[in-house]
């Protein structure tokens, strides 16, 4: 039980083991489908058809993917610094306030392409602000960031309900939502762009935030693996004492990491608020902040893994919605189970299969004639 795990080459650590873990998660999810009395194979087929089978469904898939790229990156950046930002949900919610403030004040004044950068800044600033307090408390007073960010999710929820039901609700309506944004507060849909390639996205809400998310993924890669700050972040995450001996300020780093993480989460609000609903609504983050945890774990914290992991969860969300129509025994809550299983197997139980896979690898390596030199590459 307390045997140290054998060092394994990178492609096994970062490729094979995560893939096997995710596969196990899906197998268990399949068992749940079986227990409900439906065929897992049929469920998977219906899900894939719903997500990819027609172009409007595909548009929805990419719309959800956009959300999950941003929240996944948010969790991943914090992970690299050894911090667990569980407060994505609250940071997205507050980010929505930033988007709404820009849109509500400027939507009649400027066109969308002026408002978009302002809204990005505002959403990132509000999300970052909501992560700042837990960050400062962790860095300066040693309060556990997991607990404070959980608490901040609930505080954000109470605050936003107060604002949306109270000050932000237009006079004379009972709906708990802000007024609808005018044209300057509406991000263009990507439908016309996809039509050039012969894809009709129909009513799918896919919008320019998709490109914002892809750009953010690229910038996170640059930040973490190509800058001095990224090196410091990874050092802190790998060994806080090494970072301290190297003269890095832990307080400064923790605050910067959480500002970036919260900012990325906050930007997610652009997609539903300015790109789809054109208004601020209660509970619009709808759990996307938590999906980010599964996405970051599955993608091993690397943008090249996070984007496909986000796409997979986009498929699950869109395909799951269609599946609920065709299989009445299965509701959208099946996605919640799958999400939990992915987090469990890819995150918490990642060591379960490692000894087995390691032993199998060693057995194969010692039998093959080209043995040796593998450790060096790992």
């Amino acid at each position: 039980m307390s045997r140290p795990y054998v060092p394994l080459p990178g492609w096994i650590n970062h490729g094979l083991i995560p893939l096997v873990n995710v596969a196990v998660a899906f197998l268990v999810a399949g068992l749940v489908v079986l227990a409900v009395g439906e065929s897992p194979v049929e469920a998977a087929r219906l899900m894939l058809r719903g997500a990819f089978g027609y172009s409007e469904g595909f548009g929805f898939t990419l719309y959800y993917t956009t959300n999950f790229i941003l929240t996944g990156l948010a969790v991943a950046v914090a992970f690299h610094g050894g911090l667990f930002n569980i407060g994505g949900e609250g940071q997205v919610y507050l980010g929505g306030l930033g988007v709404a403030l820009v849109a509500l004040n400027l939507d009649g004044t400027f066109p969308w392409w002026v408002n978009l950068p302002l809204a990005i800044l505002a959403s990132a600033a509000f999300g970052a602000l909501w992560a700042l307090i837990p960050a400062v408390l962790q860095a300066r007073r040693g309060s556990h960031i997991v607990i404070t960010t959980i608490m901040f999710n609930f505080i954000a929820s109470a605050l936003m309900v107060y604002l949306i039901v109270g000050p932000l609700r237009p006079v004379g309506t009972m709906q708990p939502e802000s007024r609808r944004f005018l044209e300057g507060g509406q991000l263009p849909k990507l439908g016309p762009l996809f039509e050039r390639f012969g894809l009709d996205l129909g009513g799918a809400p896919l919008n320019v935030t998709f490109f914002v998310a892809l750009l953010a993924a690229f910038l996170v890669w640059v930040l973490i693996w190509r800058t001095r700050l990224g090196y410091e972040i990874r050092t802190l995450g790998f060994s806080p004492s090494a970072a301290r001996y190297a003269g890095m300020s832990q307080v400064r780093l923790v605050v910067i990491i959480m500002l970036i993480s919260g900012g990325l989460a906050g930007m997610m609000a652009l997609n539903p608020v300015m790109g789809d609903q054109y208004r601020l609504q209660i509970d619009f983050p709808a759990g996307a902040g938590f999906v980010g945890i599964a996405v970051a774990l599955m993608g091993r914290g690397h943008p090249a893994g996070i984007v496909p992991a986000a796409l997979l969860f986009g498929v699950l969300y869109q395909g799951g919605a269609e599946l609920a129509f065709d299989m009445p025994a299965i509701s959208r809550d099946m996605i919640v189970i799958i999400q939990g299983l992915v987090i469990l197997f890819a995150g918490a139980l990642e060591n379960m299969l490692r000894p087995g896979i390691g032993a199998a690898f060693q057995a194969v390596r010692f039998r093959s004639p080209r043995a040796g030199g593998v450790e060096g590459r790992a």
Binding site: V36, I155, G340
Partner: protein, 321 residues
């Protein structure tokens, strides 16, 4: 004695019961060094299992048994991940919350075909009120009479059990050998290991106790407080319990008072939709709902005393070689 006052006191007790069970559950787990943010998920799956079993068997006691078994099963998953496979305890807790939330709805939908709810329960399927001896006779006595007959008497079995668990937990943790070892393994597992006591087995026992108590909490919510399972019926109580645990600095008796305080805030927020305070003006109900979380953050920041968690909490134990 003011009827409103008695009423608020009564609902304070009712609303604190699941918090007390869940916070004590967290107390055992975290004192042994296993962080547990999956109290919410375990309560939810216990609520679902107890309501389902009570609906099928017609007995609240079978419901309780099913609720406890379901919560213990989830607790063992958490133990497997965080003790045996030395995984990240926070990640495991998050996963359990998700699996419980999804599984309750999916299985409920498949078994009862009521959109994830269980059928409404009544009679022996629920824990009914117990009238304590002398409640009727004493009700005429000023002050004590209404308090005894209106608040102390007329609660259900689980309410009395929750309050009994507080001194029991204190005794177990601070007056027994098991309790001493449990606390030691949360502070310095290597020392416990050196003394020849199994760290994993101690931690597994703590995690199982945690499962049993969250089972009580969930069962109370579904078949004592309410009459059946509803989607999201634990509504963040697991996290409030976590907040209460921190607020009480991981000690059983303060846990009870923290839970009563948070239960009171909840009862207060339900009744007083728009409260006007002197100097501050009108206080929105959302502010009162957020108060336990704000207080916990303030406490964690060290502004009102200091909350020091068990030293080895959240760190998997690797035996020296």
């Amino acid at each position: 004695m003011d009827a409103l006052f008695l009423n608020v006191l009564d609902s304070t007790i009712r609303l604190s019961v699941p918090l007390i069970f869940a916070a004590l559950a967290g107390l055992y787990s975290e004192r042994s060094g296993i962080f547990d943010i999956s109290l919410e998920g375990k309560m939810l799956i216990a609520a679902f299992a107890s309501a389902s079993a009570a609906a099928v068997t017609g007995s609240a006691y079978y419901g309780l048994l099913a609720g406890v078994l379901a919560a213990v099963a989830f607790a063992l998953v958490h133990g497997l991940a965080s003790i045996t496979y030395r995984g990240n305890q926070i990640v495991s807790g998050v996963a359990i919350n998700f699996i419980a939330a999804g599984l309750a709805i999916i299985l409920g939908g498949a078994w009862f075909a009521q959109g994830g709810r269980t059928p409404p329960l009544s009679g022996a399927q629920r824990f009914g009120e117990i009238t304590l001896p002398g409640a009727g006779a004493l009700s005429g006595v000023p002050v004590l009479g209404p308090l005894y007959s209106g608040v102390v008497s007329g609660q259900n079995l689980l309410v009395y059990l929750a309050f009994a668990m507080v001194p029991v937990s204190w005794w177990v943790l601070f007056r027994t050998r098991f309790g001493l070892r449990l606390r030691a393994v949360g502070e310095n597992p290597a020392a416990v290991d050196t003394a020849g006591v199994s760290v994993p087995w101690l931690r597994y026992r703590a995690v199982i106790i945690c499962g049993v108590l969250t089972g009580f909490a969930g069962t109370y919510i579904a078949i004592a407080q309410a009459a059946g399972f509803n989607r999201d019926m634990t509504a963040g109580k697991g996290f409030i319990a976590l907040a209460a645990l921190i607020f009480a600095k991981w000690k059983p008796v303060p846990v009870m008072f923290a839970c009563l305080l948070f239960g009171f805030l909840d009862a207060f927020a339900i009744r007083a939709q728009n409260i006007t305070l002197p100097l501050i003006g009108q206080v929105p109900p959302q502010a009162i709902q957020a108060l336990p979380y704000v207080l916990t953050v303030v406490l964690l920041a060290g502004f009102i005393g200091k909350a020091i968690p068990p030293k080895a909490g959240g760190v998997p134990y690797v035996k020296e070689r």
